[in-house]
């Protein structure tokens, strides 16, 4: 917020308030879309702020159980040796 050089907008000289600028409407629409996306992601189980279930550092309030289809705790070294195409495939 570098309020230098130029003074504030003097606004309309009429006695009626000016309408909302177009750029505010555009940013508002983008914000609403992002919020809806966040809500949809949250409702579909992509909990923001929660590590994968069953992990060693599961914080309070996050699901702790490992789902049956989860990849489980494949050790990091194994992951490095696993081709990327196999990410997320159930390890047996």
């Amino acid at each position: 917020m570098s309020q230098t050089n130029v003074g504030p907008d003097r606004g309309s000289t009429t006695s009626t308030p000016p309408g909302t600028p177009r750029w505010v409407k555009v940013l508002g629409i983008i914000a609403i879309v992002l919020i809806l996306l966040f809500v949809v992601l949250h409702l579909t189980g992509n909990n923001l702020g929660c590590p994968p279930p069953g992990g060693p550092h599961t914080p309070p309030g996050c699901p702790a159980d490992t789902p049956s289809g989860d990849a489980g705790d494949t050790p990091f070294v194994t992951r490095m040796a696993t081709p990327p195409v196999e990410y997320g495939v159930q390890q047996t």
Partner: protein
């Protein structure tokens, strides 16, 4: 309530330093998140997540909280006001939302750092690693929008700002003529 020129310059310098520093720190965080996600070098991945936690905790968090103080002080201490212009209001909202999202992401950052330190990062963490890249990208974009707004200062007064200015005009035309001169 208008600040003296010296105080305003001081707060402005602090505010620009904090906000631009925040932008740079998030850019660095994003580079580490991408390295942690894409690198095939185990040491690189481990180092990236350990560094990410340090940067988040000791650089990004303080730099995100400081503008929440300097921004309103700067706005309220100048004729711009905090709720009179849409661009200032939008910047404030971006700062507040970015800070909240950052706080939400501290938990997974800590988790990834802990897992990297123990060498227990697994394919199950992939979703979280992608989330770090997406969140850092979104944060960087939001901060770029805020910086652009601060530089361009697009026109548009809120109904509150318009009402306040209308009252000032009708009450003392002399004050109206000097409106904005303190900023030059």
């Amino acid at each position: 309530m208008t600040m003296t020129r010296g105080l305003r310059k001081f707060v402005l310098t602090a505010h620009v330093t904090f906000t631009v520093g925040w932008l740079g720190a998030v850019a660095g965080f994003l580079a580490l998140a991408v390295a942690g996600l894409t690198s095939q070098d185990a040491q690189m991945v481990r180092a990236a997540y350990l560094a990410m936690e340090l940067i988040a905790r000791f650089v990004i968090v303080p730099l995100s909280l400081a503008p929440l103080l300097t921004g309103p002080v700067l706005s309220l201490g100048t004729p711009w006001g905090l709720f009179r212009h849409y661009w200032i209001l939008v910047k404030l909202l971006i700062t507040v939302l970015s800070t909240i999202l950052l706080q939400v992401h501290l938990q997974p950052i800590r988790y990834l750092s802990g897992a990297a330190a123990e060498g227990s990062l697994s394919s199950a963490d992939l979703r979280l690693q992608i989330q770090m890249v997406v969140a850092a990208s979104a944060g960087l974009l939001a901060l770029l929008v805020a910086t652009t707004l601060a530089v361009y200062k697009p026109r548009g007064m809120t109904p509150y700002g318009w009402r306040k200015q209308y009252e000032q005009r009708t009450e003392s035309p002399a004050d109206c003529r000097s409106f904005g001169k303190t900023d030059r």
